[in-house]
C-alpha cells in the first residue's frame, strides 16, 4: 500500500486527486494499491481515513477544515510519497522547499509540480534525495503534459544533450501568435488573453520571461548538467514587440516567438526570429522543446504546457515511474 500525502490543494492538487480516483483500477494494476492519507493547503487539512472525492467537494464549498498544518503532516505523519503542489515562489522556493527538504530527509519520495524549490535549490535537493535513498521527480514543473525530463532521461538515454531551445510559456506564445495573425498591439492582445484567463491580472511573471526562465533553469540542471541559477539567465520579455515587427519579419518569412535556450553559450530567454516553417513557429498556448543531441540529432516535442489534467498527467507519469 503506497500512502500518499498531497500538500497544496489548489487546481493542481485537486486535479491529481481526481485522476487518482478516476483511474484507480488502472493504476492499481501498475503500481499496486495506494491511498491518499493526507491533503493539506495553507488553511487546513484532512488526515487519516477520509473520502478523497468528498475532500475535493469540501475544499470547493468551504475550504479544508482547520487541522494539522502542512509542515506538521510532512514532519510527523506516516506516508511514503509526498505530492507537493503548493504555489510557486521562485525567489525563496517556499513553502514547497521546506516541505520537500523535510520529506526527503525522512527518506520519503517526492513528486512536485512546483518550480520554485528546484529553481532555488536544484542540486541541494537532488543530493538530499540521494543521501536519503529516495527519489525526487518533477516532470510537471517543465512544459506541463509535454514529456521532457523522462523523455530525455529514459527515451534518449545514452545521448549527450548539446542544447535545448523551446517555447516554455504558453501565455507568451498565445500573445505572440495572436499579434502575428491580428496585427494588433501587445496591450490589446494581452487584455484579450486576460479575459480568456490565459494571462493573469498581473502578467509580468509570464510576459517578462520569468516563468520561462525558471523552467529553463530546471531543464539546464536536469538535462544538460549545468549548475545554473535563475540569475544566470539573460532575460528579455515580449512587451516591446510591435505589430510592425511582425510585418517586417514576415516579409522575410519569419515570425517572432519567445524562446528559452540553454547550451554552451549560456542560458537565455528572449524573443527570436523563427522561420515560418520551423517546428517552433507554433500557434496558441502550446509549449515545445527542440532538443539537440549527439546521437539522435534533433528531437522536437510539442504539447500542452499548462492545465489541471495536463499537469496531473505529468504527476501520474512520475508516480508510475516511481512505483510501476
Amino acid at each position: 500500500m503506497i500512502k500518499i500525502a498531497i500538500i497544496g490543494f489548489g487546481t493542481v492538487g485537486q486535479g491529481v486527486a481526481e485522476v487518482l480516483m478516476e483511474k484507480r483500477d488502472y493504476l492499481r494494476q501498475i503500481i499496486g494499491d495506494y491511498k491518499v492519507v493526507a491533503v493539506a493547503d495553507s488553511k487546513g487539512s484532512l488526515i487519516g481515513d477520509f473520502d478523497l472525492l468528498n475532500a475535493i467537494k469540501i475544499k470547493r464549498e468551504r475550504g479544508l477544515p482547520e487541522g494539522m498544518d502542512a509542515m506538521e503532516i510532512v514532519e510527523n505523519q506516516d506516508f511514503d510519497l509526498l505530492i507537493e503542489t503548493t504555489i510557486t515562489n521562485i525567489e525563496t522556493g517556499e513553502p514547497g522547499l521546506s516541505y520537500i527538504k523535510k520529506a526527503l530527509k525522512r527518506g520519503k519520495n517526492v513528486i512536485t509540480s512546483n518550480k520554485g524549490p528546484l529553481v532555488v535549490a536544484y542540486s541541494e535537493l537532488i543530493e538530499l534525495a540521494k543521501e536519503n535513498n529516495c527519489k525526487l521527480l518533477f516532470e510537471a514543473t517543465v512544459g506541463g503534459a509535454m514529456p521532457v525530463i523522462k523523455l530525455v532521461n529514459n527515451c534518449l538515454a545514452g545521448n549527450k544533450i548539446l542544447s535545448i531551445k523551446g517555447i516554455l510559456n504558453g501565455t507568451c506564445n498565445y500573445i505572440l501568435s495572436r499579434m502575428e495573425k491580428e496585427k494588433m498591439p501587445f496591450e490589446q492582445i494581452l487584455a484579450e488573453a486576460q479575459e480568456l484567463k490565459i494571462a493573469e491580472a498581473d502578467p509580468s511573471y509570464d510576459v517578462d520571461g520569468i516563468d520561462a526562465a525558471s523552467k529553463l533553469v530546471i531543464v539546464a540542471n536536469a538535462l544538460l548538467g549545468i549548475d545554473a541559477k535563475f540569475e544566470d539567465v539573460e532575460i528579455t520579455g515580449i512587451r516591446e514587440i510591435t505589430p510592425e515587427a511582425f510585418d517586417v519579419a514576415m516579409e522575410k518569412g519569419y515570425t517572432i516567438r519567445l524562446i528559452a535556450e540553454a547550451g554552451s553559450n549560456g542560458l537565455k530567454v528572449s524573443p527570436r526570429l523563427i522561420p515560418l516553417q520551423h517546428p517552433l513557429a507554433l500557434q496558441g498556448t502550446l509549449n515545445a522543446l527542440l532538443i539537440k543531441t549527439d546521437l539522435a540529432g534533433d528531437v522536437v516535442v510539442v504539447g500542452k504546457g499548462a492545465g489541471k489534467r495536463e499537469t496531473a498527467s505529468a504527476i501520474v507519469s512520475d508516480l508510475i515511474q516511481l512505483y510501476g
Binding site: 516591446e240 515587427a245 517586417v248 528572449s270 524573443p271 527570436r272 526570429l273 523563427i274 517552433l280
Partner: protein, 167 residues
Amino acid sequence: MFTLIVELKDKPGQLIKTLEPISRLGGNVIGIVHKRDKITPLKKIPVEISIEIDENKVPELVDALKASGITVREYNEVRLVTTSSLLLVGHIVHTDISDTINRIDSTGYAEVIDLHINMPQLNEPSTALITISATGKENLRKAVELLKVICKEKKILVIEPINEEFS
C-alpha cells in the same frame, strides 16, 4: 570558402606543390580549374583553386606557396561569407542609425549589407530588419554581440534569429 589563383608552369609536379601546403594546413579542396585559355606571356597557366580553410591560416598558406616558388596571382582576402538577419524594434532612426551602421562597418570584419525599416508614426517605435555579413562565423558572432551592446545603449530591442548556428 576561399578562392586562390596561382600561376603554374606547364610541367608535371606543379599542382601537387600547391596542394601540399593546403592539405598540411587543414584545407579542403572544393574545386580546381585550369584556365588554359588565359595562359600568361611567360607561358604559365592560371589555376583557380577553391578551398574551405580556417580563415586565420590563409596568410600562412599564401606565404608557404610563395616560399615554394609559386606565383600567387590573387586571393580574396576579406570575403564576407556568413550572413545573419536580425530584427530591431525601438527608436532606430532617432538614435542615429548611421552611427549604428558605422560601428559595425568599422570593425573591418563585418558590415551591414541590408537594412529594411518600417516607421509607423512619428515618435512611435520603428522596426528594422538589419542584415550583417562577416568574414566568418566567429566574426559574425562578434558583430552580433557588438550590435547588441550598441542597441542596449540606445534602448533598442534586438530579436535574434533562431536558426543560425552561432546563436
